[in-house]
Symmetry: C2
Subunit: 217 residues, 2 copies
């Protein structure tokens, strides 16, 4: 059985949950409460000195960290259904889109950044909220420009079946919706998000459907 | 011939230069002056709507972005010498370490962030400098804890030959040194950085050895 140390709201954990569901791999999730600072507890730091989630445990292997590296591992051990295209240029594109979301934007809005802004730059709550919304919107707008301009985009980010690029996209879109940022004016992203959420593997992994999530958002 | 659109100081471009050198692939680099805002010029936005470097062009393929996705592509088309281990768990670890540097820390200190801090949060120059130094130190300290605790660490991040994890490490270390942050108190990182820089493929790719770099730093 696969064990996941995650958190209901964590975009990175959301990505891994979707991949596990798509590949039909059963898992148990143990929630690390990021709001309560449980990521800094000694037992979690031993799993991941970077004090982040998710951490995946599988058999006797060392704890695995970093969602995109976990997705690559899952793709290697359980290649069907594939979450990367068969061709090299396609794989480069899909990995690049996933990184646009997961690397260039998501790390800007996590708790440690919010704390630094408040504690060291004396940012007010509404300034922190605007910081988060700014980077969420920037990520959406540049992704819309990229996806709309490229004929490799289909019903999903790359062609007509989900890849790790879509896991990056949907985790960003759902984070944005959590801050009342809609995607109605971004037709390509909106279409892909709708197609993702129509799949049970995505819907079942949604943050608000996990233990610990608030009943309304 | 491979064409790289990069910038002398860019940590992400540095990583790609090292990989090209290690694999013996010739390239030409066209410098996009990030300080002058050339990443926002229409011709560059056409290559990369995210307004970032590097962008790699190879033959007739579409422009390739995101350094880690470019490294995976180079590994696929030119697997020797390998920059990923042969085993799945080792590859997961190496990719995860690379992401610790390239995804969790590097995006926090790039020009767009510095501009936002100054323009929207009225951060003073010394506060921006402290922001950068804080995240550079955080990345170094958590990486030292991770690498020191794991027996898979060797003369390099993973065993005794360079992998993409070392490309992440050295790009972070050199960025830190640019801000007078030394690694003498972090013995594992210091050893690995020394071993990296002893290799000509790393040394030749160094930011300060590129066109446009200042004569002294």
């Amino acid at each position: 059985m696969i064990k996941l140390h995650g958190f209901w709201r964590s975009a990175a954990t959301f990505r891994v949950r979707i991949a596990l569901n798509l590949k039909g791999l059963a898992y148990n999730e143990d929630m690390i409460d990021l709001d309560a600072g449980e990521q800094h507890a000694p037992d979690h730091l031993q799993r991941n000195p970077h004090a982040a989630v998710p951490v995946m445990r599988i058999g006797d292997a060392p704890p695995m960290t970093q969602s995109l590296a976990i997705l690559e591992y899952l793709e290697e051990i359980h290649p069907s259904p594939p979450l990367l295209p068969a061709d090299q240029i396609g794989r480069q594109r899909v990995r690049s889109i996933a990184l646009d979301f997961a690397s260039d934007h998501h790390p800007l809005i996590v708790p440690r950044i919010r704390h630094y802004l408040a504690d060291h730059l004396e940012a007010a709550p509404d300034q922190i909220r605007e910081w988060i919304c700014h980077w969420l919107r920037e990520g959406l707008n540049s992704a819309e420009a990229r996806l709309a301009a490229d004929k490799a985009t289909g019903e999903f980010c790359h062609g007509n079946s989900p890849t790790i690029a879509d896991l990056g996209l949907i985790s960003h879109v759902m984070a944005a919706r959590g801050f009342q940022i809609t995607t109605g004016a971004l037709p390509v992203i909106d279409r892909i998000a709708t197609n993702c959420l129509a799949l049970e593997a995505f819907a079942r992994a949604l943050p608000l459907r996990q233990p610990g999530a608030p009943a309304t958002h």
